[in-house]
């Protein structure tokens, strides 16, 4: 294998940097109508009436649709594979437009107009009457017995409550000589901030509804649109061109179901529905804020005897991915340190805040912060070495999770820790920085994580791929798995080329998914595609190769079993000399007067395995106490994602994730008006996403144990890089100042109050 593991350039690099790549907005044709959504200006209540008279008088208005007009169908929006088992289906709790207002900015009406100005103008002229109730913004508030139900189906506002216990926590905590450490940790609501906002355009063709959309999950969105409109799956067609990022926000149906409906209102004319940045912030999805209460009992030898966690997840207005995230979080709590008795308890609770959904690493950055901050609280109180303590208790090779059965098939975590620790000079600096005085202080911190690859066995894992041989010996490669900027198209091209014996330039990957013609795949999420869809690509390329060799065998009068393909040439197995070029075989197969055979292959991979990826972040910071600022001096992520398919794109993934982790740890959080529930910083000026100027030099390194279950020894990489960054920074702050902050971000104002409380600022 020479292609796998190389630093091949991205297959879409040229088109993307020259502007040839087409995104949703680039494909919108002339005479497309523009739709805009009217969002509620209350967070909790009912729409009682509209006055549309003035809005209708705006020239250019084609249609106005309100929550009283849409189909009376509640549908789910989460980008999960559908479950044919009713108990496991996603919660269907919203309509296309909602009369019952559940968050500030809820979708209550829509205008379709000839142009954007007319649509915006009409929107401003709609008058709404509400029955208004006080917004419920916190989990605590929503769980009170007197709280008003946000959805009638959940009178107590609890979306789901789940729990588990491994061994007996109570018994185990009675062991004599245990040290008890307790802590509360909180993570904020943040947003994905993909460059391309949420948008789509929809039209009707041949009696079907077509939606072109910036989505990570075209096949799932087709199912959701069909459910939302009450039409057949086959009546909907979703086309997904290049997209400018998603990070999980587009692992949800956003503008598509409403837009599918709007085009039917105007006789199938094309309708564009593109959110503004402000709407993308306030009216799509956010990351769940979570609060964790952790109790640990530690033996004098530095092993866990018993641990418990209570987790509360703020769902916001609609279920979306709902409990799956906090369930993932408390599972991650168990898996990382599977030692002693472990008890978990998790609640997902409706509030009148924007809907939380999927976001990079799906609940694990939340638990990663809480758990790794807690571990450092333990070692700072007990004097254990932070690395030694983690190594003693962390997951080892062969671990089988007692609940999910997910097995540790390979681990390079220990090597990751050693590599990172050497890079930063951890032990020596941690000691040196322990007792500083003065306004400027330095600190080092670290955090580890584990992350499963894909969603099996919690959900279905399946993927299909198709390859079609061209007459010149090249082949089309078609996958349902989506390129969302992460480099999927590139690694699939590499995998297909490697497996078929082609050079990568002979693989023509079709990047666009069109649910009418593209093989099925659930899409880009859960760091699954290289692992799950990669196996489908491998199987398909093997199948294509077998078919080519069968035909070549006939041409050469040789047993196909003795043949192989290397660098586009048919050769004797284990030999280099060309017997015939694949191109010649392909040409003959197509045009043979006696034996034409249009060689193509299509395979499904039904995946029933999973494996853990691991990694660590080490950070060194300088704290300016009076200025309440943190400067990152050095930061390194070391990952075990199994075998790395493409070094260059893998490093890109790690850098991107670290950048997100830095924002999560230091600057990003969404703010809401406590009186109205309105999002206050719904733009990129007030939402403090880091700029290039704020970003330190990012270092990425890998250790590469071959995972026996991955198609090429590979494991999850897309999401993991964000996970360990925030806790590593927080633990570095603890080392620098002795101040143990229980929440993120570590933004200046929070540091001001924390330093004041600790007496560092008078």
């Amino acid at each position: 294998m020479q292609i796998i593991g190389s630093a091949m350039h991205r297959v879409d690099a040229r088109d993307k940097v020259t502007g040839h790549a087409k995104y949703t907005e680039d494909l919108i044709g002339p005479h497309t109508l523009v739709a805009k959504v009217l969002h509620s200006t209350i967070a909790n209540g009912m729409v009682t009436a509209f006055d549309l008279e003035e809005a209708w008088s705006v020239p250019g208005v084609v249609d106005i649709v309100t929550c009283f007009d849409v189909p009376d169908i509640q549908f789910p929006t989460a980008g999960h594979p559908w479950s044919t088992d009713k108990k496991h289906q996603d919660i269907a709790d919203r309509k296309l437009l909602n009369t019952r207002v559940r968050c500030y900015g809820d979708d209550i009406a829509a205008v379709i107009a000839e142009n954007e100005i007319a649509a915006a103008n009409a929107l401003r002229k709609i008058k709404v009457q509400y029955e208004e109730h006080a917004p419920i913004l916190t989990v605590e508030e929503a769980m009170k017995s007197t709280a008003m139900p946000i959805h009638e189906e959940r009178p107590d506002n609890i979306v789901v409550h789940s729990s588990y216990e491994i061994g007996s926590f109570e018994e185990a905590s009675k062991e004599p000589g245990l040290i008890r450490v307790e802590g509360t940790y909180e993570t904020p609501i943040v947003q994905h901030c993909h460059i391309e906002i949420a948008n789509s355009f929809a039209y009707m063709e041949a009696g079907k509804i077509v939606v072109v959309s910036s989505t990570q999950i075209p096949h799932i969105v087709r199912r959701i649109c069909s459910q939302a409109l009450g039409v057949g799956f086959g009546d909907i067609r979703i086309i997904k061109p290049y997209i400018g990022g998603g990070f999980g926000n587009k692992q949800d149906a956003l503008t598509e179901p409403l837009n599918a409906y709007l085009t039917t209102r105007v006789g199938g004319r094309p309708v564009k529905l593109a959110y503004t940045r402000e709407e993308t912030f306030a009216c799509t999805r956010v990351r769940h804020a979570m609060e964790f209460h952790i109790v640990s009992y530690i033996r004098p030898d530095g092993t866990f005897a018993a641990r418990s966690i209570d987790a509360y997840s703020n769902q916001g207005a609609y279920a979306s991915h709902a409990h799956a995230l906090v369930a993932n979080a408390v599972n991650g709590f168990r898996m990382m340190y599977p030692v002693g008795a472990i008890k978990g308890n998790a609640y997902t609770v409706y509030t009148n805040l924007p809907t939380a959904g999927a976001m990079r690493a799906y609940g694990i950055p939340q638990i990663g912060f809480a758990m790794e901050a807690h571990v450092d609280d333990i070692v700072s109180r007990t004097g254990f070495d932070p690395i030694g303590f983690r190594k003693r208790n962390m997951m080892k090779l062969g671990y089988v999770d007692p609940i999910t059965t997910i097995t540790c098939h390979s681990t390079g975590l220990e090597e990751c820790i050693e590599k990172g620790s050497r890079h930063i000079g951890f032990a020596e600096k941690r000691m040196r920085y322990a007792a500083q005085t003065g306004p400027l202080r330095r600190g080092v911190g670290m955090a580890i994580f584990c992350y499963k690859t894909g969603v099996y066995p919690i959900s279905l894992e399946t993927s299909a791929c198709r390859m079609i041989l061209n007459q010149d010996g090249s082949a089309q490669l078609q996958v349902g798995a989506t390129e969302i900027g992460q480099g999927a198209d590139t690694v699939f091209t590499m995998m297909a080329a490697e497996t078929a014996g082609f050079t990568p330039d002979k693989i023509h990957l079709i990047s666009t998914q069109d649910t009418d013609v593209t093989p099925y795949d659930t899409g880009a999420y859960a760091s699954r595609q290289t692992y799950v869809s990669g196996m489908a690509v491998k199987k398909t390329a093997e199948s294509l190769k077998t078919k080519i060799l069968a035909y070549a065998g006939k041409m050469l009068h040789k047993d196909p079993w003795d043949l192989d393909i290397k660098e586009n040439q048919v050769v004797h197995r284990n030999q280099e000399k060309s017997l015939i070029p694949v191109a010649e075989v392909a040409l003959e197969a197509c045009y043979s007067l006696t034996d034409s055979n249009h060689i193509a292959a299509e395979e499904t991979h039904h995946c029933s395995d999973n494996t853990y990826a691991f990694g660590v972040c080490f950070a060194e910071i300088e704290v300016d106490i009076p200025m309440c600022t943190i400067k990152v001096l050095d930061i390194l992520n070391v990952h075990d994602s199994g075998r790395i398919i493409n070094r260059q794109t893998a490093e890109g993934q790690v850098h991107g994730g670290m950048s997100m982790g830095l924002g999560y740890g230091l600057t990003e959080f969404l703010k809401f008006d406590p009186k109205t529930g309105r999002m206050l910083n719904d733009n990129l000026l007030d939402y403090k996403l880091m700029t290039a100027m704020d970003t330190p030099e990012l270092h990425a390194a890998f250790v590469e144990p071959e995972d026996p279950t991955g198609p090429f020894g590979n494991k999850a990489l897309g999401e993991p890089p964000i996970i360990p960054v925030a806790p590593a920074l927080r633990n570095a702050l603890l080392n620098a100042t002795g101040v143990a902050v229980g929440s993120i971000p570590l933004n200046p104002e929070k540091l001001f109050f924390e330093f004041s409380k600790a007496g560092l600022i008078r």
């Binding site: 103008n121 703010k671 403090k688």
Partner: protein, 295 residues
């Protein structure tokens, strides 16, 4: 797509003044980096605009015969920070406007627009306040000169009447000569951000560099409008430079500012920061002037 009724483009000051007469209520558009945001939000839907962006006579920086620095209002931030007159005599103004937005905004945004927009966070305003800038305001009736100190009437409100245009910003020689300035923009990011607090100081030291002869200090976001810190300034006047003086100056700042709690930052935090950045800015300015804090 922007919702406005009409855009009138003026080629000269005279034409701009005529257009303001003919279209009362029309908004003056310079670089557009503030107005376009409001337009996009639909807040100014249907408005009329008079663009003065094409008036080249309102662009440029020069040193007048008496040593006054004249900055024409349409000069872009980039042009301000790279201009030799600014670099030589009041580099702190260039350093301040170099912290606005990003390169694109600094290429289009103008210093006149920055102060006429009238917000307390304007990065150029505190330095211009600290240098006692004078404004030349022109109307069909003639020209009036107004100290910048009196220009801000309230948040987003300035003393620019109907039919008037800001045509010049002047910094008198007495104000800038032998001074060394420093600006600290305290923000959550190192670029593309709005100041949580801004502090511009300039000092003139005694010949032996042991004493502060004169201190000028102004703040942004420490009050509803950009403000001078007169108490802090007089605390420093004629005083020998040492740590104790820095502390006294920084404590005195509290009397000069009235920051408020907003969702962007709390009053307590802003008060703490004001003292800290005042201290650091004075220290940096003293060092630029060749002085030293401890002898």
């Amino acid at each position: 797509m922007y919702d406005f009724k009409e855009l009138h483009e003026a080629g000269s000051v005279a034409e701009a003044l005529r257009l303001t007469k003919e279209h009362p209520g029309a908004l003056i558009l310079a670089g557009g980096s503030d107005i376009l945001i409001k337009l996009r939000e639909g807040k100014l839907a249907g408005c009329e605009l008079i663009s003065i962006f094409g008036i080249d006579e309102l662009r440029g920086i020069c040193l007048e015969e008496d040593g006054t620095i004249l900055i024409r209002p349409l000069t872009s931030f980039t042009a301000v920070s790279t201009h030799p007159v600014i670099r030589q005599h009041i580099p702190v103004l260039g350093e301040a406007v170099d912290q606005i937005g990003g390169p694109q905004i600094r290429n289009i945004g103008t210093i006149g627009g920055n102060i006429c927009n009238g917000v307390t966070s304007a990065d150029s305003a505190s330095t211009l306040k600290a240098y006692d800038a004078m404004l030349e305001i022109t109307s069909a009736e003639g020209t009036r000169v107004l100290p910048f100190a009196e220009f801000n009437l309230g948040p987003g409100k300035v003393d620019l009447r109907a039919g008037e245009l800001l045509t010049g910003i002047r910094i008198p020689k007495e104000s800038w000569e032998r001074t060394y300035g420093h600006y600290i923009k305290y923000a959550m990011r190192r670029a593309m951000d709005i100041a949580t607090l801004g502090c511009s100081v300039n000092v003139r030291l005694s010949a032996d560099k042991k004493k502060i002869e004169r201190l000028r200090m102004a703040f942004g976001v420490a009050a509803p409008i950009p403000v001078r810190a007169h108490t802090a300034e007089s605390t420093a006047e004629g005083q020998p430079i040492d740590e104790a003086l820095l502390t006294r100056i920084s404590e005195a700042v509290i009397a000069d500012i009235t920051p408020r709690s907003s969702w962007r930052a709390s009053k307590e935090f802003r008060l703490h920061l004001a003292k800290e950045i005042a201290l650091r800015a004075v220290k940096a300015a003293v060092e630029k002037a060749g002085g030293s804090i401890n002898g």
